[in-house]
């Protein structure tokens, strides 16, 4: 193997890893984009909702016997899929009980649109979820492993049988499911009556009421969908990533960065924001020590925000 071949293989491998992890980050960011980007509700508990999605999928897998029923290969994906509606309901209820007091028609006219109260409330929820989970689930690492996580597809070899790229099957499938979930959500948001009513309620709650939209319900639905999507991303991530009750902290920052990078209010933008973060994170390991990969993300984030403050897909449109 010659020097350029080694470099090329390293680059392609990092690129593939970046695309795969980026797709999952993208899905995570899309979940937050529903809540923060579109409905403009600050939610610092988003990472902990993801953590909850991981644990719910884990317990459905091992506790409800999904593992035995569907086998070790398909079982984890069934469990992740089943965890999604649980978190949808969780998001719906937590909005109904707590978040609705600081969002929607009630705060539309207030200074800062209720953001201060949202900040404090969701930070509180985050702390309760983190510490509560530690009490309930313990702090040892667990994961939703499938045999696919330790199997790979090989692309190549090419360039004289020396260069080939390995795609982890578990990550590959997780990325594929992420992209499908995002496409589904994007269709709902842009094409359906429900999606239009959510965007309208976010744009102008008062005028939405004049259209006959129940604004509080619209906020609740968006919050539930956002929670569910991020939890789904968490479950998919957990097939390759051992987790613990404080895992949310590592990702909530990535989610906010992704949403802002993509442009507030844009679902596809949030996906590309997350994808960018995944790529930067993995490609930076080629030239920087691994410990600096998150530093690379934020240097890149700052550069993009300086050069293009509205994000990739953000439109400069005044909100009423």
């Amino acid at each position: 193997m010659t020097e350029p071949q080694i470099l090329l293989e390293g680059f392609l491998q990092a690129l593939a890893a970046g695309l795969l992890v980026g797709a999952i980050y993208g899905l995570m960011c899309v979940g937050l984009a529903m809540i923060f980007g579109i409905m403009r509700v600050i939610n610092f508990a988003q990472g902990d909702f993801m953590m909850l999605g991981m644990y719910v999928a884990f317990f459905i897998l091992v506790g409800l016997g999904v593992n035995n029923l569907f086998g070790a290969t398909i079982g984890p994906y069934v469990a992740i899929l089943l965890a999604a509606p649980v978190l949808l309901l969780f998001g719906y209820l937590i909005h109904r009980l707590l978040i609705s007091r600081v969002t929607g028609a009630r705060t539309a006219g207030l200074e800062g649109e209720g953001h201060y109260a949202q900040l404090i409330l969701t930070l509180g929820i985050a702390l309760v979820l983190q510490n509560g989970s530690q009490v309930l689930f313990g702090s040892q690492l667990v994961s939703i492993r499938t045999p696919l996580s330790s199997a790979a597809w090989e692309i190549g070899p090419f360039w004289g049988d020396f260069v080939s790229v390995f795609i982890n099957k578990g990550r590959g499938l997780a990325a594929l499911f992420s992209v499908l979930a995002i496409l589904g959500l994007w269709l709902v948001i842009t094409r359906s009556r429900l999606g239009r009513s959510l965007r309208a309620a976010a744009d102008n709650p008062e005028a939405s009421t004049y259209m006959g939209i129940d604004v509080d319900r619209a906020y609740r639905i968006a919050f539930a969908i956002g929670t569910c999507i991020t939890a789904l991303a968490g479950g998919l991530l957990a097939t390759n990533y051992p987790f613990h009750p404080f895992v949310g902290l590592e990702f909530v920052i990535i989610m906010y960065a992704g949403v802002v990078l993509g442009g507030m209010g844009s679902i596809l933008g949030a996906f590309w924001g997350g994808m960018t973060i995944g790529l930067v994170q993995q490609l930076s390991t080629l030239v920087l020590p691994t410990q600096l990969q998150n530093t690379a993300i934020f240097v890149c984030f700052l550069l993009i925000v300086i050069l293009r403050p509205q994000g990739f897909f953000g439109r400069v449109v005044e909100r009423t």
Binding site: E206, A207, T209, G265, R319
Partner: protein
């Protein structure tokens, strides 16, 4: 069609409207005029439910509106074109109109309604794909009116459609409103500070001052009334 009796309403226990009674019959064009701060917009918001009624009654097409939650009222046939236009800035013009058609009636007649809205306000067809927030004030007002019409309403409530617009643009909008009324036979309730136009087009009118109806009657009589002429028409 709309019958408001002894309405008292306002913000957090401070009443803005005192004992307001108005009546709008089916097919009528009724104008409410008055100075800034008279409570005209508050009256509209109370009819739509975004400001709560403290006492009095609002009846619309056989329904007791006070008992209907705000977001259900449009489905009964009330379209509120709010003050300051309030379009959905990030939605396209067409999506804004589609939001107007959120009501059952609006959905049922969406296709022919859209055709009629485009024929009255052709600029909306030209701008259909553009985000409404990027339009000029006059165009946004047309979006707001089109959005109201898209709900296939029984009653169209217009809150100062001329606000912040150049006089020629405002004239254009009034002309279109007269076309719409003639073609669609719509019942219209208008709030305006441009008193001369508002009374010229209306069947009858009300003058609202500091939350009370101080004059009411046939719009020609109102235009001829000395108090109205002195206070509002500058004669």
């Amino acid at each position: 069609m709309l019958n408001v009796e002894n309405l008292r309403a306002g913000y957090s226990s401070v009443p803005v409207l005192h004992d307001v009674s108005i009546e709008v019959g089916a097919g009528e064009f009724v104008s409410i005029v008055g100075p800034n701060g008279a409570g005209k917009t508050t009256l509209f918001k109370t009819l739509s439910g975004t400001v709560p009624a403290m006492s009095g009654s609002i009846r619309f097409a056989g329904h007791d509106l006070v008992a209907v939650p705000p977001h259900r009222r449009p489905h009964l046939g009330i379209a509120h074109v709010p003050e300051g236009r309030q379009v959905f800035p990030s939605l396209s013009v067409l999506e804004n109109l589609e939001m107007g058609a959120y009501t059952e009636a609006g959905r049922r007649s969406w296709k022919e309604n859209l055709k009629r809205i485009y024929s009255w306000l052709p600029v909306l067809a030209e701008r259909a794909a553009q985000p409404a927030g990027t339009l000029s004030g006059g165009e946004q007002q047309m979006v707001a009116i089109g959005r109201g019409l898209a709900s296939a309403p029984k009653l169209l409530m217009l809150d100062e459609p001329s606000m912040g617009l150049a006089p020629t643009v405002a004239d254009f909008i009034f002309d279109r409103l007269m076309d719409i009324r003639r073609d669609a036979g719509l019942t219209i309730l208008l709030v305006e500070q441009r008193v001369a136009e508002a009374l010229q087009f209306a069947d009858h009118g009300y003058v609202l001052e500091t939350g009370r109806v101080v004059l009411a009657g046939d719009s020609r009589k109102l235009s001829a009334d000395d108090r109205v002429r002195q206070a509002y028409l500058g004669m």
